[in-house]
Symmetry: C3
Subunit: 666 residues, 3 copies
């Protein structure tokens, strides 16, 4: 099922449990939600201490009341499981539920998250409260979706986790001999002779074995996932028809969210871009990249933007207010890229605590006569006109390979340019060549299907896991185009180097090049590369390569001893082509290089009219979204007559988009 | 009693206990003290290991000898209690006397301070040694004053302190319900159900609850105070007529020194300004602010400058030597602002250890033929001419509200501009508008009496504790003028936000404005504000406000969406007026704004002649101090004939003050 | 014995234990070693887990095979003891072998080194495995030298070490009274009454007593040394004729390597300079300084360059590739300065782990057709022509006093300019005045013989240990020339200040000056000093001195109150002269000042022809090395006909050295 409601969800995190002593505010909230054209509320995220004030003593009365109010006002309740924070009594009685950091010392009670991923007690407690919630509300008319915990993250180093880690290793590697080989434990005399000798990476223990660090991240991912599966088991049993999601964080690296994708019904994520009051093109590209990353996780199925701010955040160094229009455009972008919701953290500012100055629809002043409230209500009216896109998927012919495990490997290896790996930024740059042309593009991991694409750019693919090289080879042989760059195919899934020449694992023949050396450039230093009659800058990292069958499309112009050697190559392989960009390019090269391929391959953009710099388009269902992030007025010339859905009018010809303006065209 | 001696005390920390094996140096010290015109010595600060070399075995012989020498040379002994550092044997036998830091691990023996504030053993030991000292020296002719411990500071997280903290919380909040409400513990599910669930704030526990952090600072203040009261009990009993002080540190934020004021006879503090060899106007203003902060603590009663350096310090990154004259001017400034002493750390450089390169009257070379010694002796001769000011209080019609608890709240809240709160600097800027005009001004906390002033500037008064808003309202209604700024009246004493519109707690009607939003500006970014025909820069933080009865005196000129809205307002309220400066101004605005009020209210400066930039004046008793901090020659034109007390001559008309020069006029 | 082989050793760290499952690579290694003209391999450094896979179960078969292969290919084996890293089983069974850091918490198993220096278990285990190795290979034809452990470094704070530290203190100080006096424990009440009260310096204990920190460094040095002596005991017993070395690290400050000198047969060190692709003059000077530091440790006896990279390192922020020629010149410099070996870390890149991207002779590609391999082989051919220098010592008439214990004291004292002590850099600058003129110079500690030199520069000799002042006095009286600078003779071996005027300990009369004050200058600020008709910049630190018999050769020109006072003095004392440079000079002053002395004293350079900037020479045996570090072509004009040993030709007159080029002339 691609949609669970026939409207765009508009709502946000709602904490009536903080105002349980002033219930007049609850009624005011309902009145204000109607005014703001909000149709949903996410409740109970951190409510455990109110739901279960003492062990085994439950207090659902307040939640019954809220659920009833929501239902009677026609609001969808997204009901949270409360495991993101636990009551103090639980930590006091069962210290094992608290997390142990890398230091090896158990945390005290405090903040949120902060729970052991393995603790049987905590798993039992979460399953029990979740079961209670499901049983109580399974037939409640407001219940719409489950919101599992909150922003799963972090890791735990307690003894229970160590034991689980060792068991996981045993399953993963089978024998110590195999683990010793794959981790190259002959180095520094680390051959283990008993599983008990292995412990999580830590600064006062083992912190120099990349394979251990990779294994620990994989284990932590699995432990979060199994914690999640334990959470949803009673929900699936009791409310099999209620969809389940858990809110994820941007490009968080602590775990690999891809592992969750098969087990959630809806991908959801919390979107806090770095918007400014000026030109937001860069941030818009970055955010589009992330939308597409999450959208691609379930093959283009619509996702939820579970959190965003209606105004300001409180956790940056300098938390600015934004002009009206910026957050609205941000919301429209989410929908354009596949979101079926626009949700806020938070509905109402909390009165005390750490996040009381985080933006909310309702401010401390308590009424609707604020700029922010008016902005939200105006957006709500627009969203009500977008039923047509709900559930609509997007497909793309091009993809950027952005791989979480590769990002770990890239961060962990010691050598070459250590200060500027910038894997996220590098991938976002390649993404931008497509985004700025209005071409739909997926953002996929190395484990996702390649064959649905005509063109895949896989920058800095340092780690090539078992089977991946074969899949790339098959893809290219079958007619696909593959773009690789410097430091591709260096190591396998355990950061064990490929022998016999890079790019390794069989890719040397696909690319038709051998990368003999990798050079590093200081900040501000550049090599020049000639390509297609122009000269470009190479920065930070440059492979020194030999063409072995590939054709040189570009050469190093200035680079001491390797000037004149190939810098860009193309290799015809089977029915496809493999390109090797031996250096780290700037945006201009990427745009020109990809632009050439796009033209040659005739990959079509969503809009049939040209886009000024800073204007982004995305087609979703029958609607074409045209968004101006350029920080100033922009003019587009439409190719035909359209219906302007938001303004409910017909438009054609030259149209001026104000700063932060947008059009939704049918 | 406002004075304890009829002369300015001139002396400093003296550690004969470090030279107990070379008593010829003691005799040399007496000779040199006479030469330096020093009339006092502070002894025994860190002498515990010599006074009580083994538990219960006392060794007072050396101190008897020193006290006798001091008496026979006519020196006043300021006798310290030794609790600032303890003997190793005590830490070894009673580990509980050592401090536990936030990490939760007990410190080992070392450095100084480093003691638990709660430990019954340590309190017993300090009371016992203090009693011994009092009994032994109660009738000694040299005994002049008690110096309790040294620079009380820091905190302890041991179990004894946790228990005391919980008891303090129980007394403070009565019930857990009340604490849960005031700390807003519904947020992140933190409702406590037992007092035992609460622990001190720490990085690996709870560190995100501002109310807990505030409570911990208050508790720590009280624990230091009760430690102090335990120290002085035997002294008060045995030597009821000997005044008691404890030396405080500049604008130290770890505790609120105001709590000590009722329990010390003399406020004393340690003054280490950032003097340079050039223009010292900025440092002079900052230091004057601190002098007035401490002077105001006991309603203007003279204080002691217990420490200062005669030359150089050793703890900065770059420890410069200063030209002769700079330290002399610094000492004169202290006296001008209410100090009845000029005291040094230290009399003689220690031979080893951490502070051996800190400046001293007597250097390692050991004789009087040094530049520093000569400078001190010359100053000593001047101080001997200032008997007239001893005991003289200063009164002021204007005050700056600088509140320690507010400074904590300002540091702790998360949001808006987090990098540039700068509460000290902000208050010093408002102070400077008065200081640079030679107008006496007090520096008071929010708990001190407002009614004695005509004008109070209370910048950035984020925290408005229970009762404070009412007192401000009464003050303005009664005819006072009150200046508030951006982010005023946001939260109560537990950092719980005021609802219903800022400035809260009832201040909205006093100011006649509602602050809807607070914007933040990046470093180097400015909004322009028009006021009185000029344009000023607003930086870092700007409230967006609505006048609700107040008159706009100034407007934002450039600030995206809030350009044209009020930036400075004035509200007639009762018989007084309340001003709201919605932004963070630079010095020029503050000078012009306050200058206008000063002129209008006809608040008079101490000097009846105009002051060039960098020249500061302060009247004390019958003497007018004129001090040149401007880093170059300055000329003043006297309004009449004066007696130049230091030079013992009559002066009038145009007088040239050399760089770092001063006049003391009667 | 000054030489152990009649050729320059050419080889490096070789880890066949990492490739034990792919023995075909072992055979390939032998083939490649022949091609690279490598005649030696250092084996077994981290092989313990393969040598003793279970406690008491030994596995020498693989090493037998490797030793046999090396022998049959005519390679010298430098056999390592494996204590640099231990097998996991040992840490698991005997946790005491692991190190305890300053935190007081025992490390977990991990990384390398990381062992307790005191643990009886670890000492027993290392002695046992060393004995096994010696017994097994004592008669093996490949066995050439012992390589003990690896880069001894770090410290351990466990209870065993604390106990050993207290015993060491007792031996060192005899009584607590003496220790309390020397550590000036009267300060802050630290008089110890039991040895058990003393513990190692730590951040959460005692960290403000410089004498404790000095003692701890000395103890740590001794503990490393006794660990080393325990390691070599069985080797000396079983293989009395096999030389022993241990590889040291550049200017590592954790221990004083001088203590090892009497107990190693060959000094060896690991050389990783900061070479660039441009002008390397600065790095060449720094590296020459270090070569001479190690060379001087055993009175000029040839040393081994045990490690260097043939290409790149992996642990910097930006790891650059270098042009061919740079590493070759670096190797030649080592030989010129006294090295009898050119050795690499590493022969073959490891496939996994932390150092897999560190440069190696054989890359992951596995064959000889790489730029790096060819460079190594070409150098190998040159080294084969240098038999003549093997064993040749260098003597010098000038020395730089660079003292490890003084470097500790300089780092530990609190005061004056704390941000820019730069002891290494300061000494390297004085060294450069000689190096750039091609004058041989030793780099000695304060404990080495002064009398063999005509001129000694001892910059920033803050610590003057017992007996040193007397030795300096005797040296100057006997006709030597001594150069001292600011902050000379301040404290003794326990950082206890000299009383009675600096420079202390008797040096005041030798220099004929009294330093009254020490001033500090901010970054970018300078005083001007006139000397010899020119003006120079003084930076960071300036003594204010009085000539007491010395002649002023230079004066401060701009320095507020001390302008016009002496800045450079010369004192005729006995038959010699003592110079005092009161400030921290830049290179130009040092060059001119030392140049004047060199000319006056007629100290002769190695080359009889003039050297362009960036060209360095060093004579060794009968060969004169001429090396171009200037980053561009340089021309020298030879004074006579020479034999060019590397090119095997006769040269004379004007010779052009290419960038990174060199000549070896006979």
């Amino acid at each position: 099922m691609d949609k669970y409601y026939d409207r765009i969800i508009h709502g946000g995190d709602y904490n009536p449990d903080q105002w349980v002593d002033t219930k007049e505010i609850w009624d005011e909230d309902m009145r204000l939600m109607d005014l703001a054209k909000v149709n949903s509320a996410t409740v109970g995220i951190f409510a455990w201490s109110l739901l279960e004030p003492e062990e085994g003593v439950y207090n659902f009365g307040w939640l019954d009341e809220i659920m009833d109010k929501l239902a009677s006002h026609g609001k969808k309740a997204i009901l949270a499981t409360p495991s993101g924070a636990r009551p103090p009594w639980m930590a006091q009685k069962y210290p094992e539920v608290l997390r142990v950091e890398e230091s090896g010392v158990r945390n005290e009670y405090g903040v949120r998250h902060n729970h052991c991923l393995t603790s049987p007690v905590y798993r039992e407690k979460t399953a029990a409260i979740n079961r209670m919630l499901a049983q109580r509300y399974k037939d409640h008319p407001a219940l719409f979706m489950w919101h599992i915990s909150n922003e799963y993250s972090g890791e735990c180093h307690c003894e229970l986790c160590q034991k689980a880690f060792r068991e996981w290793l045993q399953k993963e590697y089978g024998t110590l001999d195999r683990l010793n080989f794959k981790w190259w434990n002959g180095f520094w005399s680390h051959r283990f002779t008993s599983w008990d000798q292995i412990s999580s990476p830590k600064y006062r223990g083992e912190n120099h074995v990349p394979a251990l660090r990779l294994a620990w991240r994989r284990f932590t991912t699995q432990q979060h996932l199994s914690f999640y599966l334990n959470e949803i088991a009673p929900l699936r049993e009791i409310t099999p028809d209620v969809p389940v999601t858990t809110n994820m964080m941007r490009l968080y690296k602590g775990i690999d969210y891809h592992s969750f994708a098969p087990y959630v019904d809806v991908i959801s994520w919390d979107n806090y871009p770095d918007w400014t009051n000026g030109d937001n093109t860069e941030s818009a590209n970055e955010t589009a990249f992330v939308h597409d990353y999450f959208r691609s996780m379930k093959d283009g199925k619509p996702f939820y933007m579970m959190e965003s701010t209606p105004s300001i955040v409180n956790w940056k160094g300098v938390n600015r207010q934004l002009k009206s229009g910026v957050q609205e455009l941000s919301a429209i972008q989410a929908v354009a890229h596949g979101a079926d919701s626009v949700q806020y953290f938070q509905w109402r500012k909390s009165r005390g605590g750490h996040e009381k100055f985080h933006g909310a629809v309702v401010d401390h002043v308590g009424h609707e006569n604020t700029r922010v409230f008016r902005d939200v209500a105006r957006l709500g009216a627009v969203l009500e006109k977008l039923d047509a896109v709900v559930g609509a998927r997007t497909t793309a012919k091009a993809a950027i390979l952005y791989d979480r495990e590769n990002s770990w490997a890239v961060d962990f290896f010691c050598g070459y340019h250590r200060d500027r790996r910038d894997y996220d930024k590098v991938c976002e740059r390649w993404y931008r060549a497509f985004w700025s042309r209005g071409i739909p593009v997926d953002v996929i991991s190395a484990d996702q299907d390649f064959d649905r694409y005509d063109l895949i750019a896989a920058p800095f693919l340092y780690m090539v896991r078992a089977g991946t090289a074969e899949r790339i080879e098959r893809y290219v042989r079958g007619g696909g185009r593959w773009i690789g760059t410097y430091l591709t195919g260096i190591a396998d899934e355990d950061d064990l180097c490929y022998l016999g020449g890079f790019p390794g694992g069989g890719l040397r023949k696909v690319f038709g090049v051998w990368a003999e050396e990798t050079d590093s450039l200081d900040e501000g230093e550049y090599n020049l590369v000639s390509f297609g009659g122009r000269t470009y800058r190479a920065e930070y990292t440059c492979d020194v390569i030999h063409a072995e069958g590939a054709t040189a499309l570009g050469e190093y112009r200035t680079a001491s001893y390797y000037a004149g050697t190939p810098a860009v190559t193309k290799n015809a392989y089977g029915n496809g082509e493999a390109y090797y960009v031996a250096f780290r390019p700037q945006q201009d090269f990427i745009d020109d290089f990809c632009g050439g391929l796009i033209d040659e391959m005739q990959i079509q953009p969503d809009a049939a009219f040209p886009l000024p710099e800073g204007v982004s388009t995305r087609k979703r269902g029958e609607l074409l979204f045209v968004m101006n992030f350029g920080g100033e007025e922009k003019t587009v010339v439409l190719d035909r007559e359209y219906r302007d859905v938001a303004a409910d009018r017909t438009v054609s010809g030259e149209i001026t988009l104000p700063e932060n303006g947008y059009l939704i065209l049918r």
